[in-house]
């Protein structure tokens, strides 16, 4: 397959994987375990539904999933209690691998979830989806079960934007279209084939994910894509159409901070892979303006740009996942690509 159009050729629709029985059989035949984690921060409005629907459908009825975990950044609402009540195993991010310190951010939760989850295939789904459907999970897992050459799968969908009159079609994905797609078009045109490179629903094989560094903040998705591009090539990427995703839309101010984090990770990767050289130190703060009476005032926000190293470099991880395997007859480290 040519790298130039590999992602387009690995573009599926979730309905192609709707035969859940067949997926379960395939999973069992291949001897794989599948884990799902929801990174959360104050998601009491939607987490119950997400856990209940996916657990009922894909653990109880069709045992495609082996575990559902919520990894929480310290919610002040009832996210953790509700998730536990509806059947998820809940971890507080700051209590996992705590000797490595703690950062607040989605990427931090994803990195730590890689340690607590036991599966060979890891699925992450954002906890703010209003129209959750089992296809969000089996759609991501299907390509990994059916195609051994695929290692990392991203969801895409129509993202209507909420307005006072209801939903405006196609208004979502603003950061993607204004920032990320132009950057990819300039520097990684193959990655510009991804419809929603920033989507919060994706799945990957452990042996790939454990080799990736994780940006603790907004840059985690872009960091993954660029790292995968360089280390494994774009041919292991796939994307799946989930039709429609309704979720909480962010304010323009929040999107600006998100863009700062993404751009920071992106520039870091360009330097890391020797694709550009910055002659000036980058700013540490996102700068916004706010009206105070008749004056504009500066608002400086520190955006987390810290990177977590690949899990394979963490002693506890190696002990948990590799020593145990090595002790078993025929065990040993998972084969790397």
């Amino acid at each position: 397959m040519s790298d130039n159009e590999s992602i387009l050729q690995h573009t599926f629709h979730s309905s192609e994987f709707r035969d859940k029985k067949a997926l379960v059989e395939l999973k069992e035949k291949k001897g794989l375990r599948i884990s799902l984690a929801f990174p959360t921060l104050n998601e009491e409005a939607t987490i119950a539904k997400e856990v209940l629907v996916l657990k009922t459908e894909l653990m109880d009825r069709f045992p495609l999933l082996d575990e559902i975990v919520v990894i929480d950044s310290g919610s002040g609402d009832k996210t953790r209690e509700i998730a536990t009540q509806f059947g998820a195993k809940v971890y507080v991010s700051s209590e996992v691998l705590d000797r490595y310190g703690n950062f607040r951010g989605k990427g931090e939760n994803l990195w730590k979830s890689l340690f607590v989850l036991g599966g060979d295939i890891i699925v992450w789904i954002d906890a703010d989806i209003v129209n959750i459907d089992p296809k969000f999970l089996y759609g991501l897992v299907g390509p990994l079960l059916l195609h051994d050459d695929i290692g990392y799968v991203k969801a895409f969908y129509k993202r209507p934007i909420r307005s006072p009159s209801g939903l405006t079609p196609g208004g979502g994905g603003r950061v993607t279209e204004i920032l990320v797609r132009p950057l990819f078009s300039l520097l990684y045109p193959e990655l510009a084939q991804l419809v929603q490179p920033l989507s919060g629903e994706y799945a990957g094989r452990r042996e790939i994910l454990e080799q990736l560094p994780f940006s603790v903040g907004y840059g985690v998705e872009v960091g993954h894509l660029v790292d995968i591009y360089h280390r494994f090539g774009p041919t292991i990427l796939a994307q799946v159409d989930m039709d429609l995703r309704i979720h909480r839309n962010q304010s323009i101010e929040a999107l600006s901070r998100m863009s700062f984090g993404i751009l920071s990770t992106f520039i870091d990767r360009l330097e890391r892979y020797g694709e550009t050289r910055m002659l000036k130190e980058l700013g540490k703060h996102h700068i916004a303006l706010t009206e105070e009476g008749e004056r504009e005032e500066l608002v400086l926000t520190e955006i987390a740009t810290t990177e977590r190293p690949p899990m394979l470099t963490i002693d506890e991880y190696m002990k948990k996942f590799y020593q145990r395997r090595a002790e078993k007859p025929g065990g040993g480290p998972a084969q790397k690509r």
Binding site: R18, K20, K21, E44, A45, T46, A48, K49, L52, V53, K55, T56, E57, D60, R61, F62, K78, E81, I82, Q85, F86, G87, V130, N131, I132, D133, P134, P160, R162, G166, L167, I246
Partner: protein
């Protein structure tokens, strides 16, 4: 499901009767103490998914497709999608009984909206437009089908599960009516599964009739004088006048009938002459004759309102359902009372609902069961999750009880 198919199933039924009666009794005993927790989660999950499917669609096809897919997932093969858009699922009886016990649920919600119908779950409640009214009942019947399939649940009567369009999307109940025209004489009793109304025993006879009155007047300028060719009251004024006159009529036995102006709409805003308007009227009465009389009075009042003007009045019957037959339903409502007592739920008296009244029109006794309690206001609609376990157990017990009752319909059966 043609006659050869039924014949073969009946043969299968005899075989099952010979070899399976002991198993059936054991299953029914188990059913009384079964842990229904897992089924409750499945009901809520399926109701969440059903409620977020757009509705109405042509023939309610989108939600019906979801149900067909689910039945296929459960490995149920005795399924038919009839020409009127009903889904029929058959579980043949042990033995040779020819009659059917119907268990039906409604599908579809004309008030669907992507955000409003998205369900919100808390630790105690589920809220979302249409969730309790329709989706929860249909999901409970789906999970009942799953339960029946998984446990090899066969009864002394043939069990016919039907998913039919709700009165919200099929106001004239055409789908359900056609189903009953074909199957009515083979059904000895019916259970209608609803999302809400747990503990309500529908024994009060009340029929209803819904009319839409549309008024049209000629176009004119706002300040056209009395000599104008298009003089006369506006559509809005005419509707107001009709409403006033209907409100002024005094009915015999006020407690036994009511006329409710459900909606009135006319005009496009200031600066425009309202040339068209519609008023929806709902009439409720405890007797068929009273219902017909009030309907005639309301129609006559509306027709006369435009007399002598250039306005036109059209009256359309949107739906009508009969008062039901509480005597006919008594064996089933008594059974429901006994089940509620066993579940330690205090029964409340409720009005015989449309789908049950239609069963009665076809000579079939019926009863409606709610899965849980809930509340619906203009701003909020929610159901309590805690009662769903008892609600589902009630359904299992009711099916078991009704399937063993003889002479439900006056001696038909074996």
């Amino acid at each position: 499901m043609g006659k050869p198919g039924l014949f073969l199933r009946r043969i299968g039924g005899i075989v099952r009767w010979i070899f399976g009666r002991g198993k059936a009794r054991r299953l029914l005993r188990e059913l009384r103490k079964a842990d229904v927790g897992i089924y409750v989660n499945r009901i809520v999950s399926d109701a969440v998914l059903l409620n977020q499917i757009p509705s109405p669609s042509d023939g309610e096809r989108l939600r019906m497709d979801f149900i067909m897919g689910r039945l296929a997932d459960f490995g149920i093969s005795n399924v038919e999608f009839d020409e009127w858009g009903n889904i029929l699922v058959l579980f043949p009886a042990f033995g040779t009984r020819r009659d059917f016990l119907l268990v039906a649920a409604e599908v579809g919600d004309s008030d669907y909206s992507p955000l409003g119908s998205a369900v919100h779950l808390s630790d105690e409640r589920a809220s979302g437009q249409g969730f309790g009214e329709t989706s929860l009942g249909a999901a409970a019947l789906l999970v009942f089908a799953e339960y029946a399939q998984a446990t090899g649940f066969h009864l002394d009567k043939n069990l016919l599960l039907v998913f039919t369009r709700s009165s919200s999307v099929d106001e004239k109940e055409e789908g359900y009516r056609h189903f009953l025209e074909i199957w009515g004489d083979r059904i000895s009793g019916g259970i209608v599964v609803r999302g809400t109304g747990f503990g309500v025993v529908e024994s009060r006879q009340v029929g209803s009739c819904r009319l839409s009155i549309t008024v049209r007047t000629p176009e004119r300028e706002l300040l056209a004088g009395p000599d104008s060719a298009a003089s006369g009251p506006s559509a809005a004024a005419l509707l107001g006048s009709i409403a006033f006159q209907i409100g002024g009529v005094s009915w015999e036995a006020k407690e036994a009938a009511t006329v409710n102006i459900a909606r009135m709409e006319s005009g496009v805003g200031y600066g425009h002459w309202p040339t068209e308007g519609t008023m929806d009227i709902e009439i409720l009465a405890e007797e068929e004759r009273m219902l017909a009389t009030i309907k005639n009075v309301v129609s006559g009042t509306a027709s006369r309102a435009a007399a002598g003007s250039a306005a036109t009045v059209e009256i359309a019957l949107r739906s009508q359902h009969s008062v039901g037959d509480s005597m006919k339903n008594a064996p089933l409502t008594d059974a429901l009372r006994a089940i509620l007592a066993a579940l330690k739920v205090k029964p409340e008296i409720g009005i015989i609902s449309e789908k049950v009244a239609m069963l009665n029109d076809f000579g079939v006794p019926g009863v409606a069961l709610g899965m849980t309690s809930g509340k619906k206001t203009a701003d909020d609609e929610y159901v309590e999750l805690k009662q769903l376990g008892a609600g589902f157990r009630q359904l299992l017990l009711a099916v078991e009880r009704c399937a063993t009752m003889r002479d439900l319909k006056g001696g038909e059966g074996r």
